[in-house]
């Protein structure tokens, strides 16, 4: 904090408080619009919104492990694929769909806890790359295991009794609930002892340990929460598109998109990843619509621009506009 900041602090604080008082009604209003939306918009926009919610949860999952704990799980899409396959295989084996949806995050959480124990010993880049390798290895594993997973041919899920409209509406509300739940979970985490422990170990792992924090436990828990969120939407996604194959379930693009959304929105905050998801997904849909052939080229350019121009995230600049920004540590 510079003296300049301190000088403007009181006035800025007033503006920030006003913004905060407005924030709650604004969020409630936005939520009401999202709940009512399926009755007002067509299938096309409903599909886009559904994937916005899905990516918001993926970004939120990354937020927990990257934004809070400081472990850059670049290959978090491994849990997206895991969730999709757990739910998919369970449904194929005759497990009721709701139970399959619950199994997806649980198995992903357990997997993250088991894999995280050795993997989270790695620091910085090494951890990031290890998660990418983990993602590739899981995709290869599914291809080679075959059997009940369908292997390289993919896994068609049995069709339910719902009509396509009913299914899309169900998925819409499931993804929306997942997004709301993930925001609430991160809001809770921001105030919970675990959240403080994670931020402490992000800034200095040795320091946190000296303060009596069990860092191994804290970061393993963080990754498990992150994996649970990602796995939950992975499971719903698999049921939504009705056909899973290793390439699309373990697509590293899922976590890269989530990562970019988290960056755009601003990491470490509960609402940032959601803002990022809306911004990026709608932007890339618009790009897709305008430039079908070169949309990936333009998307790549947008990614470069975002990283170059606002490495701190949108929310950071919005808050700076209001004269104060959230305590980031």
């Amino acid at each position: 904090m510079t003296t300049h900041d301190q000088a403007i602090a009181p006035a800025a604080r007033g503006r920030f408080d006003a913004a905060q008082r407005l924030a709650v009604p604004a969020l409630v209003l936005a939520l009401a619009v999202m709940v009512a939306a399926p009755f007002m918009i067509g299938g096309y926009w409903m599909r886009i919104l559904t994937s916005v919610y899905m990516y918001a949860v993926v970004a939120q999952g990354l937020n927990v492990i990257v934004g809070f704990a400081g472990y850059h799980a670049f290959g978090n899409s491994v849990f997206f694929g895991m969730g999709a396959y757990v739910a998919g295989v369970a449904v194929t084996l005759g497990v009721p769909v709701p139970i399959a949806f619950v199994l997806a995050p649980i198995v992903s959480m357990l997997a993250a806890a088991v894999i995280g124990w050795p993997l989270l010993r790695l620091k910085g880049h090494y951890f990031a790359i290890a998660t990418v390798a983990l993602n590739m290895a899981m995709a290869d594993l599914i291809i080679n295991v075959g059997g009940v997973t369908g292997g390289a041919q993919g896994l068609p899920l049995p069709l339910g009794s719902l009509s396509p409209e009913q299914l899309n509406r169900l998925i819409y509300y499931l993804m929306l609930s997942a997004m709301v739940a993930s925001v609430l979970l991160v809001m809770w985490l921001a105030r919970a002892p675990l959240g403080y422990a994670l931020r402490a170990l992000r800034d200095s792992e040795v320091g946190a340990e000296v303060m009596g924090i069990n860092t191994t436990l804290a970061k393993t828990l963080a990754w498990a929460i992150s994996a649970g969120m990602t796995g939950a939407v992975g499971g719903i996604w698999g049921y939504w598109i009705n056909f899973i194959e290793p390439g699309s379930a373990f697509d590293i693009g899922v976590s890269v998109n989530g990562y970019i959304m988290m960056l755009i929105g601003g990491m470490g905050s509960a609402i940032g990843p959601v803002i990022g998801a809306f911004f990026f997904e709608i932007l890339s849909t618009a790009i897709w619509g305008q430039f079908v052939k070169i949309h990936l080229l333009i998307l790549g350019l947008v990614i470069i621009l975002v990283v170059m121009l606002m490495p701190e995230g949108l929310l950071f600049y919005v808050q700076r506009l209001f004269g104060a920004r959230e305590q980031r540590r």
């Binding site: 390798a133 290869d140 080679n144 790549g300 470069i304 990283v307």
Partner: protein, 290 residues
């Protein structure tokens, strides 16, 4: 059979080594994980393909051309984009180079389409035999050239002023400033040289494999594994790891089947990351910027 597997693995290992050295160097010196390295290799392959298909230049002769093109590309990317990120979180470079990878791959998709192409010279499928072991001329030449390039790069780093500046910057970028070295210029140089080596790998790959805009993806996984196996920033480590990796791939393919090549590679990768993160020959100070 055993002899053939060893020869196949070693000969391919040379290509793997040269594909990984540039990546390893860039990571070791700057802490930048260049996700676009695979795309750089792809661009190098297309330079040689283009020179061969339209101008009739032998791929071995277009080696300097592809290295030059890639040097300029790597230098500019570092100078114009990545250098601005060096002061913020280095993991942003991961995202930025991912975006760059998308851009490069899609530009080449637009120009050359997704069709597989190949460079077929009169000597492409010729080979000679030593006992029961067949040795293709192209692979042997690629192997020798790759090792020569690696040795040349090693000498460049250890015997020239520019090379010494690169090594010094990787050790301590604050102190080199006091010695009159501008780290940002060293970074651009490192990125350029690293990309030039990727270009060389691309030229070699164009003679051995089908060429397509997405060919880089198959390389980037191997490059990661070799870099970590050899120790980040270590050239002799990357060469050794490249050869070991080639052997592992060859044996995995002949014993377990081609499908298991990748799984074996990733399992080794994860085990090494957890047990010996500094790699076979890695030194402690390399790649410690997090």
């Amino acid at each position: 059979m055993l002899g053939q597997t060893i020869v196949n693995g070693l000969l391919l290992g040379g290509l793997y080594a040269i594909a990984a050295i540039g990546f390893s160097m860039v990571w070791g010196v700057m802490g930048v994980i260049n996700m676009a390295h695979g795309a750089f290799i792809m661009v190098g392959a297309y330079v040689s393909y283009f020179a061969f298909a339209t101008l009739g230049i032998d791929p071995f002769l277009s080696l300097p051309l592809s290295m030059g093109v890639l040097f300029v590309l790597g230098y500019c990317v570092q100078r114009l984009l990545l250098n601005r990120l060096m002061r913020t979180s280095l993991l942003l470079s991961l995202v930025l180079t991912f975006g760059l990878d998308l851009v490069l791959v899609n530009i080449f998709l637009l120009i050359f389409s997704a069709d597989l192409r190949s460079v077929n010279t009169f000597y492409t499928s010729r080979s000679f035999a030593i006992g029961p072991v067949l040795i293709p001329y192209v692979r042997l030449a690629v192997f020798v050239l790759a090792l020569a390039l690696a040795a040349g790069f090693y000498l460049f780093l250890n015997r020239t002023k520019a090379g010494q500046a690169i090594l010094a910057t990787s050790l301590d970028k604050e102190t080199v400033r006091l010695m009159g070295v501008n780290p940002l210029r060293v970074y651009a140089l490192t990125a350029g040289v690293g990309a030039a080596l990727a270009g060389a790998a691309g030229t070699f790959a164009s003679m051995l494999f089908p060429i397509s805009p997405s060919m880089g993806i198959t390389f980037i996984g191997s490059v990661f594994v070799i870099t970590v196996l050899g120790g980040i920033g270590s050239i002799e480590g990357a060469v050794l790891a490249g050869l070991v990796y080639g052997l592992i791939q060859a044996f995995a393919a002949s014993l377990l089947g081609v499908n298991f090549q990748e799984i074996v590679a990733f399992v080794i990768f994860l085990v090494i990351l957890v047990l010996r993160p500094q790699g076979l020959l890695g030194k402690r100070f390399y790649g410690e910027v997090a």
